[in-house]
Subunit: 207 residues, 3 copies
């Protein structure tokens, strides 16, 4: 990109990578909470702390964005990226919180599978993030494509789980609870896709 | 607007019009699916294909937006217009998909009426779209006003349907299903209004 | 900020303050509607009228934004501020409307408390708004912090109310209604926080 009169602030990238690391840890906690029911209470607390750490980082990033004159890429794209990363984290935390609030006694098998899909998406987010520094399209695309593919996998799982929820003579209260839980899980996979789309857009504009 | 050194890319308008045409077809399919219950399965499949075509077009528009230096109007307004058109299409498709997932046996009369309201809104969107090229306020306003009026008609229909849902001794499972279906239909009429408001905003800025 | 060639349009601030005043009135009406059940019908009508006044003002602000070349602060921040103020108003109105649509016979004590939290948040919004003219960080921060603190108070109230909803052998129809009502109340406290965050962001950028 040649000579720059005013150096761009590279520390934005550091903060994005820190945020991706928090998401990665959180996704591991979510998977463990769904797979080993006896860990749910402890893991819900861990996720609450991770979400708090993420909030701090988000706040730091937003404050930095407001103070910084020259940003490494478009202001609104930074805002978009920060927000969607934060949303993924919030949604993972909301899921374990709801498991507890709803006094869920057993995690549906599909919920476990979708938690693993979210973890895989977050792993790709964590891998692609350092590559954002170089703004090379070919370099980030495989990760973005994989995140999108995983979102489709999650979609199909959720569609089936959702249909199954209404089969037989369902318990209305259970339907209300699981419909909300599936909705949160679906939103998490969607938000991971938003992260991928934002990254793709940033790289296309800045390549 | 006089002489231009760099010609604006007119092909954005072509793509918007193609997108409006897909929406028009989709709204016809939605109305038929609600009015002739025996066509539901086939029409849900048709809507799925139209939604897929729309997704391709949206992706093409977004990629073009990221590559193009001089756009016919503000970048964020193009983004906004593309997104809200895409949302209308997604919501129409979500409605027929839910009819099938929920194994709905009979379409409520109000749902049929609202589907027709959405179709009328989409017809106005399809009519106003070619007029966007000329950026004349008086030229697009009647369509935008009509789309807003139709949104109010839909709102009143939905409010009544929603209240009726809770009357008597309702079946909780049916309430859950129809509340979600009405919500999707309402979101579709809202998103048509967003399209109209975006178009009005664009023309006001560029007139 | 020294000498300006083109004076900034101060009337935006007048309109923001008018909007905050409408919100203040609306929050009083909401609290009265929840505390004195016999006033619900009359207060729902009053809120509908206030929401209508707010819509007019929002429309005026948006039109002005599209016509004005030099705005007192970033165009997208004005848009953001106007939208979130409008959302708070819409949500307060939606709550009383739903009380009526759902034929609610008794307002849950927590709903009354949250209505008061929203009123307190709106009081802070109303107090901070005139301070936006001077763009001094220290001047607006205490109000923004208080609005955020109140959002946390509301969050805890809602979490408990939400958990209580599923306790014992709940009536599914009541669960559906109150879950939606709590959701709307929560969204209102969230949107007040959005207003505070937007104001903080504006001041940080323009201080």
């Amino acid at each position: 990109m040649g000579f720059r009169l005013i150096p761009k602030d590279e520390s934005f990238f550091d903060l994005f990578e820190q945020q991706a690391k928090i998401l990665l840890d959180a996704s591991g906690v979510l998977v463990e909470a769904t797979e080993r029911f006896e860990t749910l209470a402890a893991n819900a607390k861990r996720l609450e702390r991770l979400e708090h750490d993420g909030d701090q980082l988000t706040h730091e990033l937003m404050a930095k964005l407001n103070r910084t004159f020259i940003t490494p890429f478009d202001r609104e794209d930074i805002h978009q990226l920060v927000s969607s990363l934060d949303d993924v984290l919030d949604l993972m935390e909301a899921v374990t919180e709801r498991f507890i609030l709803f006094k869920i006694q057993q995690i549906m098998p599909t919920a476990k599978e979708i938690a693993k899909v979210i973890q895989q998406q977050v792993q790709e987010i964590h891998r692609v993030m350092p590559r954002l520094r170089h703004m090379k399209h070919a370099d980030v695309m495989p990760y973005c494509i994989e995140i999108n593919r995983l979102e489709n996998v999650g979609d199909r799982l959720l569609r089936d789980a959702f249909a199954a929820l209404f089969d037989g003579s369902p318990d209305p209260i259970a339907v209300i609870k699981w419909r909300e839980l599936y909705e949160l899980l679906e939103m998490a996979t969607d938000k991971c896709e938003d992260v991928a789309n934002t990254i793709e857009g940033i790289v296309l504009k800045n390549a």
